[in-house]
């Protein structure tokens, strides 16, 4: 796509392109085609494909790596125009949003040419191998072992919460390469082809039902030495950098999801009825809805401010922790309110007798409990804010 310098002209180019390329089917409400909105559709794939061809999945990456070569301002205009056109959010991709930025900065030239374009073109699917059973919030206590034998690392151990590991092509993975070194210094960052012999994957069932999460087991898995990213023992530094991206991605959850069929006020009006003035009939629920909407607005506004600060070169500091903390708590509150408005309609698990929308509320209510745990628990985020932002003593 033309990276026109004049912002107004650029905006027109972008918006025209979206107008011409965004599939008509996606402009309907999810589920309006009568199919399960959680299933991927051909027209969704086609849209991703069109975006990828223009490098728009990774707008700020260089064109040589499959990006669009946009400046930060141009990327912002793209995202504004997408929002204005009510383009649905693209599925979160660990390759695009997490690994990519770090790989761009720290990857070897070979690693970059091998992986980046495939990620930007949505041709290669990545999963994240960080957590282990038992490590929990204390991520650095990981014990998956990678021993350098000749030209290969031999990996043994077990990872958990490896999203989509069951259909991922590659995994970026934290491993312990030096058991003698201190907890943080013995860790390295490996890129592992999921087709390598010795890897097995089993999906995790959540309280909300089937999930994208998996457990991944490594049994004498041989990984070429070239697949080390950064230096030996530098894994923890890269991991922390990557976690910042993850927190930002999770913080945006509270902003409200374009895929949700009904807004919270709409749901409340539907479930509780409205009075003569068109207000949500139950005043207690109305107050709670107002509070949630108000808090969403505040979170969105803080995110804008934080973006404006970044553009102005005033780093807001560990804003990601705050957004993650607040965003996930708001999401939890929002879902508690939704489930309580649904009343007995909100207790459906599956099968007949409940609308798909009501059952989705139930599953999402359960799933949302995980938002304050994954990507660093909210307790960890509070610790980080207290330490890094407020400079409170340890």
């Amino acid at each position: 796509m033309n990276t026109e310098n004049d912002p107004d002209k650029f905006r027109i180019i972008v918006s025209d392109w979206i107008e011409q390329n965004y599939p008509a089917e996606l402009r309907q409400a999810p589920g309006a085609d009568g199919q399960d909105p959680r299933q991927s559709k051909p027209y969704e794939q086609a849209w991703l494909q069109r975006m990828a061809e223009q490098g728009l999945l990774a707008p700020t990456w260089p064109k040589e790596y499959g990006g669009a070569g946009f400046s930060a301002d141009q990327a912002r205009i793209l995202s504004q125009e997408q929002r204005r056109a009510k383009v649905r959010a693209i599925p979160i991709s660990a390759g695009l949003s997490l690994l990519g930025p770090v790989l761009l900065e720290h990857g070897t030239p070979e690693q970059k040419s091998q992986h980046l374009s495939k990620i930007a073109r949505n041709e290669c699917f990545w999963c994240q191998g960080y957590s282990e059973p038992g490590s929990g919030s204390d991520l650095a206590s990981l014990s998956t072992r990678a021993e350098l034998i000749g030209e290969e690392f031999v990996v043994n151990g077990q990872k958990i919460w490896t999203s989509h590991a069951d259909d991922a092509d590659w995994m970026f993975c934290l491993v312990r390469t030096d058991p003698e070194a201190s907890k943080h210094e013995g860790i390295s960052f490996l890129l592992i082809d999921m087709k390598t012999p010795g890897i097995s994957v089993s999906p995790i069932r959540l309280i909300s039902g089937p999930s994208a999460f998996c457990q991944t087991f490594f049994d004498d898995v041989r990984v070429p030495k070239e697949n080390l990213m950064g230096h030996l023992g530098q894994g923890w530094t890269l991991a922390k950098q990557l976690l910042q991206h993850e927190r930002q991605a999770l913080g945006s959850i509270g902003r409200g999801d374009a895929r949700r069929a009904l807004t919270l006020p709409e749901l409340a009006a539907q479930e509780m009825g409205t009075d003569d003035l068109g207000r949500i009939a139950d005043p207690g629920i109305r107050t709670q809805v107002a509070q949630c909407e108000l808090d969403s607005l505040a979170l969105r506004t803080t995110m804008s401010r934080s973006a404006d600060e970044a553009r102005a070169g005033q780093s807001g500091g560990h804003i990601a922790s705050m957004l993650k903390l607040y965003g996930s708590e708001l999401t939890t509150r929002r879902h508690e309110l939704m489930i309580s408005m649904r009343g007995a309609d909100g207790i459906g698990w599956e099968g007949p007798g409940f609308t798909p929308a009501a059952m989705r509320t139930t599953r999402q209510w359960l799933r949302a409990k995980g938002n304050s745990i994954e990507g660093g628990t909210n307790e960890i985020q509070r610790n980080v804010i207290a330490k890094r932002v407020l400079d409170l003593p340890e």
């Binding site: 957590s131 929990g136 919030s137 204390d138 206590s141 958990i160 919460w161 995790i204 069932r205 959540l206 309280i207 039902g209 479930e271 139950d282 207690g284 629920i285 939890t332 508690e336 489930i339 309580s340 649904r342 009343g343 007995a344 309609d345 909100g346 207790i347 459906g348 698990w349 599956e350 099968g351 007949p352 007798g353 409940f354 139930t362 359960l366 409990k369 995980g370 304050s372 745990i373 994954e374 628990t377 909210n378 307790e379 509070r382």
Partner: protein
């Protein structure tokens, strides 16, 4: 009555705890959900054998007079059993059969009807369901299901939702409208209906707590005047205290659920290591555990007071029941949320039990009115 257990009650509690521990494992919730619970009819989602055993212990007859095979004890005693069942998330048709349908027959039925059904309940041979709710929210007189008078009696048509333990029930007690319109307290009439009767169609529902609930459609089902419980048009007078007693019982179950969830969380805090320390040493978690403790203590106190107020026929029984429902619902919700958060990632998995407590609590919270409903009712009853 003092807010402590008498010696007899303590014995009952001990025996209930022992029976429950030996009979119900929390994992049965998953088995009921996944259809892997041993037995011929997995859709039943509870065990008739266990129901029978509890009847032998006298529990199904606790609130029924001795002349119908019951123990003639009170709600304080029933609460003890329900609390222990709550701890194990034991799925049993107590609320449906004893607290709703059975109590409706006891309070509203004629001698014939009582003799027909109460001994069967006390003996653990009969399971009954009360079909009342029609919308998503508890709103007891919002009834549109009609029972139209015919030459021979009545003809029932309409839809009932979330009918607890309706699948496999031996008899249905059905709330219908014989006059007036939805929302009127007058004009409601109760019928005993055979689930096998013509025009009755029962669809089993799959719900969050994996228990037995159903959708029932009545399509011109015939009912004779003998099937009417109490007076035509006066069902609300019978049902109001029935609902209140059932709520008091649900509160006891909620106390059991939250107590077990809380204690399991404490145990986790005392065993789980992070950053080289037991997570129970982290002050932020300690303080939140202390808050959960306070909420649970109040839920226990209010639940006990409400149960005893029923037994004492206190003038403030209804107020206490609604206040207790609001408190137990809120406390269970808090403890449910905090438990999963403190368990962390493992708490989110289906493999770990803790999430099952939150699921059952959610259903119990909203059954017969959630905390918003009961806070509002408390305000109304208090006159402000």
């Amino acid at each position: 009555m003092a807010l402590v257990l008498t010696e007899e009650q303590q014995l009952l509690k001990n025996s209930a705890r022992e029976f429950v521990a030996g009979t119900f494992a929390v994992d049965q919730v998953r088995q009921h959900r996944d259809g892997t619970y041993p037995g011929s009819d997995t859709a039943l989602r509870y065990s008739r054998d266990h129901w029978q055993q509890m009847a032998e212990l006298g529990w199904t007859g606790i609130i029924f007079p001795e002349q119908y095979g019951g123990l003639g004890l009170g709600y304080a005693e029933l609460g003890i059993v329900l609390e222990e069942l709550g701890r194990a998330l034991a799925a049993q048709p107590f609320v449906s059969t004893v607290l709703l349908a059975g109590n409706t027959i006891l309070r509203g039925g004629n001698e014939d009807q009582k003799q027909s059904w109460l001994p069967g309940i006390c003996a653990g041979e009969k399971v009954l369901a009360l079909a009342f709710q029609e919308s998503g929210r508890f709103s007891p007189w919002q009834i549109s299901t009609r029972a139209d008078a015919t030459a021979e009696g009545f003809q029932i048509s309409g839809e009932k939702r979330f009918v607890l333990d309706a699948y496999g029930a031996d008899q249905l007690v059905v709330l219908t409208r014989t006059s007036g319109s939805s929302g009127d307290r007058d004009g409601l009439t109760l019928f005993l209906v055979d689930p096998a009767a013509k025009g009755v169609s029962i669809t089993e529902l799959k719900v969050l707590d994996s228990r037995n609930a159903a959708l029932i459609e009545f399509n011109g089902t015939e009912a004779s005047a003998e099937q009417v419980i109490g007076e035509v048009g006066k069902a609300a007078d019978i049902l109001e205290p029935v609902f209140d007693c059932a709520i008091a019982g649900l509160n006891a179950e909620l106390v059991g659920i939250m107590s077990e969830a809380f204690e399991r969380t404490l145990e986790y805090l005392k065993t789980r290591q992070q950053f080289g320390a037991l997570i129970g040493t982290f002050q932020a978690l300690k303080h939140r555990a202390a808050d959960m403790f306070c909420e649970r203590e109040h839920a226990i106190s209010m639940t006990m007071a409400a149960l005893r107020a029923i037994d004492n026929k206190s003038h403030d029984a209804i107020l206490l029941i609604s206040a207790a429902k609001a408190r137990t619902s809120d406390a269970a919700n808090l403890i449910g949320r905090e438990s999963i958060q403190m368990f962390g990632g493992i708490g989110m998995t289906d493999e770990e039990d803790i999430g099952l407590f939150m699921k059952r609590a959610r259903v119990a919270e909203m059954t017969l009115g959630d905390s918003t409903y009961h806070r509002e009712r408390f305000a109304q009853l208090s006159g402000f």
